[in-house]
Symmetry: C2
């Protein structure tokens, strides 16, 4: 029984932030995006963390937007000199960076008077020509979409809110489903028979993730695919394999 | 007063793991590596998260080893079918993948008898021809170095132990120093004068990282560079700027 045909829709996350590379900040957006895109039938196929260096940002954007169906960027859209994402997107697309009237109206909600719209804050209204704005329900400075590139804030709470604003506009394939079986056996014992099961079910991705708890070695065996019936067949084969190795399999919830 | 000349030594981290892209697992190695490399005078200049797909791994390795001084990989060196890093490194370098006698001796320490060295476990002794082994003080299955590429386990405790084994063999430049000043002022107020300070100190990277605590907006202003005196000059200018804006600056510890 073959898996039904579906189009694989791919995405790349570009994390713009020298502070992530230096270890000052730990990224939290990749995990959220990976999970939410799966639900939408889009595979996060690659992620890159790059520094706040214009030439690197421009080159990465141009490479990734040609290579993946969707590109999401996080970081670098605030009011300080190190926030250079919008300018780099404009350069990558060869368009002007313009003060956007609608972005100004959105941002204005944060303040009592026009006087509070400092030059630094107005920098957040500079948007590449031709881009469409993405509402920011948290702090109002908008993100934007330029063709297949979506530009989000880096702060996870804001990034997530922006993503939820646009998620229904993304065209996905079949949602990626997953199942997990926990085996209280070392990978060195599971490895052989598990490889045989992977050969029998080439349309299901099987991953083995070892753990060690209270001196006991085990592995979480995770199956991913788009066909629920096929996943269950694979899970049944894995449960039987674990029993044949003398251990009771445990179905596990998973992200 | 200019910063003394030093060679910038660059590194790239390649995180091999579909489970990171799907959001199942949250990477913890980037942060550790970024901080430790800084101390060694090496800049983590880029990181990539890629799936367990041989063609992607081989292409990424070949691109990155040509582009950066050092490449570190994490993940994919266990005993199961989805552990394909060593085979991909061999392909990238155009060398054979061979069972390594020294790797077998290292791994053997984990077991009571030769019989426990299953075929799956022996897969962990397959090393690209010409590579030198990296001891694994935790679980004994070694990593390896092939030219400028270092192959580590993905489990953070093991990855960190392997890194500490090789760290003294890395040739770094001047250690990257940092200072941070906390300002209880919004970035929209800090942005203008901070950009002026960045122009005065082009050899010091200044980053602004906003936070919001108990309804109060502030920013952590982080300076990075290799010249301690120059960093302190920049910090003094930033403290004065914060005072001029009517607020008392706070020197902050940082990673």
């Amino acid at each position: 029984m073959a898996s039904p045909k579906y189009t694989l829709v791919t995405a790349c996350l570009v994390i713009i932030g020298s502070e992530v590379l230096s270890g000052r900040t730990r990224d939290a957006n990749l995990q959220y995006l990976g999970q939410r895109l799966n639900q939408r039938g889009i595979r996060l196929t690659e992620a890159r963390v790059i520094p706040d260096v214009p030439d690197v940002i421009v080159a990465t954007l141009n490479e990734c937007r040609a290579k993946f169906d969707y590109v999401f960027t996080t970081g670098g859209i605030g009011p300080t000199h190190d926030d250079i994402t919008a300018a780099c997107v404009a350069r990558a697309f060869g368009v002007a960076l313009e003060r956007n009237a609608e972005a100004r109206r959105m941002l204005r909600r944060n303040y009592q008077s026009d006087a509070e719209l400092t030059e630094a804050r107005l920098k957040m209204t500079e948007i590449p020509a031709g881009a469409s704005l993405i509402e920011n329900p948290v702090s109002h400075a908008p993100g934007f979409r330029m063709e297949n590139v979506f530009v989000f804030a880096g702060i996870p709470r804001i990034m997530q809110a922006m993503f939820e604003v646009i998620v229904d506009t993304l065209e996905g394939g079949a949602p990626v489903l997953s199942k997990a079986v926990t085996a209280r056996l070392p990978e060195g014992i599971l490895g052989g028979p598990l490889a045989d099961i992977q050969k029998r079910f080439p349309d299901v991705e099987i991953g083995s993730y070892p753990f060690s708890r209270d001196g006991m070695h085990g592995a979480s065996l995770v199956m991913r695919g788009t066909d629920a019936a096929r996943l269950e067949e694979t899970a049944a084969a894995i449960r039987q394999m674990v029993r044949d190795l003398g251990c009771e399999p445990i179905d596990a919830d998973m992200a």
